[in-house]
Symmetry: C2
Subunit: 556 residues, 2 copies
Amino acid sequence: MNDGDGGAWTRRRFLGLVGRAGGAAAVYETMTAMGLINLPEAWSGPLELPAGSGAGKSVLILGAGIGGLTAAYELGRAGYRCEILEAQERAGGRSLTARRGSVITEDGDRGVSRQTCRFDDGLYLNMGPGRLPYHHRRALHYCQDLGVPLEIYVMETTANRYQTDKAFGGRPQANRRIANDTRGYVAELLAKAICQKSLDAQLDEGDRERLLSLLKVFGDLQGEKCPDYAYAGSTRSGCAEPPTVYQACGAEEKLGFADLLRSEFWRHRFYQPVDFEWQPTLFQPVNGMDQLVEGFKRKVGQLIRYRTEVIDIRLRPDGVDVTSRTATREKQVRHADYCLSNIPLPLLHQIPANFSDDFGKAVGRARFAPTCKVGWQANRRFWETGDEIYGGISWIDDMITQVWYPSNGYFGAKGTLTGAYNFQDDAVTLGRMGLEERLATARQGAVKLHPEFADDSIVPQSLGLSIAWQNVPFQRGGWAEWSAESTEDRDAYARLLEPDGRFQVIGDQVSTLPGWQEGAMMSAEHAVEQIASGLRLGKRPAVLHAPDSRRVAQGR
Amino acid sequence: MNDGDGGAWTRRRFLGLVGRAGGAAAVYETMTAMGLINLPEAWSGPLELPAGSGAGKSVLILGAGIGGLTAAYELGRAGYRCEILEAQERAGGRSLTARRGSVITEDGDRGVSRQTCRFDDGLYLNMGPGRLPYHHRRALHYCQDLGVPLEIYVMETTANRYQTDKAFGGRPQANRRIANDTRGYVAELLAKAICQKSLDAQLDEGDRERLLSLLKVFGDLQGEKCPDYAYAGSTRSGCAEPPTVYQACGAEEKLGFADLLRSEFWRHRFYQPVDFEWQPTLFQPVNGMDQLVEGFKRKVGQLIRYRTEVIDIRLRPDGVDVTSRTATREKQVRHADYCLSNIPLPLLHQIPANFSDDFGKAVGRARFAPTCKVGWQANRRFWETGDEIYGGISWIDDMITQVWYPSNGYFGAKGTLTGAYNFQDDAVTLGRMGLEERLATARQGAVKLHPEFADDSIVPQSLGLSIAWQNVPFQRGGWAEWSAESTEDRDAYARLLEPDGRFQVIGDQVSTLPGWQEGAMMSAEHAVEQIASGLRLGKRPAVLHAPDSRRVAQGR
């Protein structure tokens, strides 16, 4: 075994000697002392407010989304008296899971529409957030704390597909072929450039040799020396024929490089699973994302006043007065020492209020992003039995953008699929259609990935669902659309982190993770900390990195 | 939206018109007719032998590993009378799950040793195969058929680590940093070469532009045009600080390129998860791999004669005579019409038999690969709570090679870890040690990945386990070591696919997937087909791709 350069060898040998003399504990202590081990900083749990510290103080929370529920739960633990006003007939906001009997209401250009989910009993589909990344510590914490069991969410399997009409004769290609043939070509071209000595200015000879060794493995290249390195296909891209005792897996013919480039797969989110928020390991609540909402409701459900719409907000020196209207159009005025608003900012902006000028302006700055989903019940799990796809997402150069396969119920009889999840202009276009037209459009896209989508007995039209979040009353979009490049956005965001008197905005909309439940929890934590300090936190830190919704919420 | 080049646009538009006129079904039919959809060929289920076709015929099966169990099950369904002789006191062979009370027996250079597993009740660890790839159709089929529930096996999370003493000051680095910083540097260097026009011979201008666009996303490069493309770090590699409302995720400082190259991470299996057998989605049986064995036992368990060692094999014109010896040293002779041997080839070679010369020589050619595992019980899931690691494997430039984190029991109190899994010389070295020395060696490696391994109260020595498969009686290794480059290996392998009279070898050892249960099932299927045809299959196909154990069984 090669022990590398002299320095490393010495350290290694030294630690070996320490180990033989004093065992593993001695090695650890020595490594710590030598600075060889450093522990990552991480979120270490919710704020532990002193028990009873909130006694006698009241907090009115507007909106029973994840931000409001988290705030109510944490404040309640410290003795604050909380009440939650919720305009809709359910809690959770965008954390919505459709199952038999669920109603999706929209109020868009075509007026009010109500869909009732008719999935078979036991089937469900997340119409809002659907995944919990491993580094969303707050979301994972609350699932544990609230007794919400989790299971693995599969973001990517190499059996997933990408389809475009621009290349491959229109045929969908397996993720493994696109990903690994691309690695192969990239490695081959870079090896060629190195062999041609084109990069001698950037690399010394030792690095060149090591990089060639790396590229050979990185791209599964043939050849052992310059100029022989070449990409000739790889079993990483799959087998040309299913293996038998007579025939081991042989590499499928590589995709043509020009065809790969023409396909522009990288412009269609193919590499989204590489970005931090979508890297494995991801989780999902067993039985739907609404199980997290149910978990919170077990703690603070009794504090929620449903179908209670806020119609006026008055900041007072000693607190906040909130006027609301119930479903029976009864008006009520509540006074509380503090008020936290989980209401989407564009809707808050429309509610009469006596905000200070700068705060009101910041509230008015926020836009919400349009986003649509389509949901299908499939009566056969054809993607598993026929196509060896277990979870993950297929990407498509089509307005449906993507198809999600279920990360639950594997090998079962039926399942649900996300048949479209799109953004920006595509979401606006889809959201302007009626349900039948949306489903027809989604089906026409999906059939290019899987012919089974053409068969109504497998994927019944009558069980199709859709939500255009920009049309949903009291939501009006998927997330706050902050741009890290915009000075106005940065200023508005920074202002919204601070209270206006005793009034504060919460939710993922005022977090650096817009569109994520983790962001809502992060924001609630911030607001709780401010209230607990009596709004006397002193000088606040500057906003060092403002949120970038395009990157974080929808992926590039 | 850009519809691409003229040809694609025409097809797209045509299909759009078909869709509007006739709906999605019409689009599908048209696409099929145009050759735009092709369906992958795949294994479609076990051989369906006519019911009762085996009536009156007997098959003696030697060894109750997965190959023998599969053959007995399938032959039994067709009416063959089967009996299975098993030398050990348990079925399953290498498909071994350790749990409280399990005994691991070795008989190596140091003589006989017996370890009894003392894990807490409910904890277990797979000491042999541990994963089922999505394309191992037979394995997934039998799990369904036998009622063995599956759950996701996580092969890789970007929180996994790689450690070497040769770079990074010896500090373990997160998978996400190594993987994504490497992508960044590779993309940057290739972009530089393109901008310098070094690859103009290989790429026309259109391809150059498209490739630069690809590289920007592939490597998360800064810059919009030549020569500005540069890798400046990426949030794909993680956040420098945990995000707060004041600070969105900012990229951690990129690793130094020279340091990355010096680390030689690619020589230490870092890219194994990219290879076909280990690509997501993978599964594992809930409650351990032995649940698959239990599933088979529910069907054919009554046919197994335990502690019955084969000591002589005589091929006869009308069948096979097998002499065995029971634990009480009682000799028995059985006659059957056919005999299938699941016995590891090097051990079969030592049993007196009247094989034909060429068959006997082929049997004698096979070597079995040494491989060792170490197992730990951990009394805290420190890798989850502290290091955000949920499943997957950390790689290390150390003789332990790798540490596996459990893909089950997430967020629980305790768990089990594979503390070493190694090959070749490292496996020989570890296998020559006694248990305490193996555990001390494994601990000294693992502590470089996680300091908690130094703490006996967290990872107790007294609960550590190890298996050196080359020392295990009746196994003597992890898998058949076939080289696809060796003519002798290819010839021996081809010969072993054919019976010697009424005697045939089965198991993953005579499949193109050595070391995998899928291979054992594939081999059993082949043998069943031969028996069902009365060994009159006619001209057999040539062996087109011989197995390559180094690649398929242990990864590169």
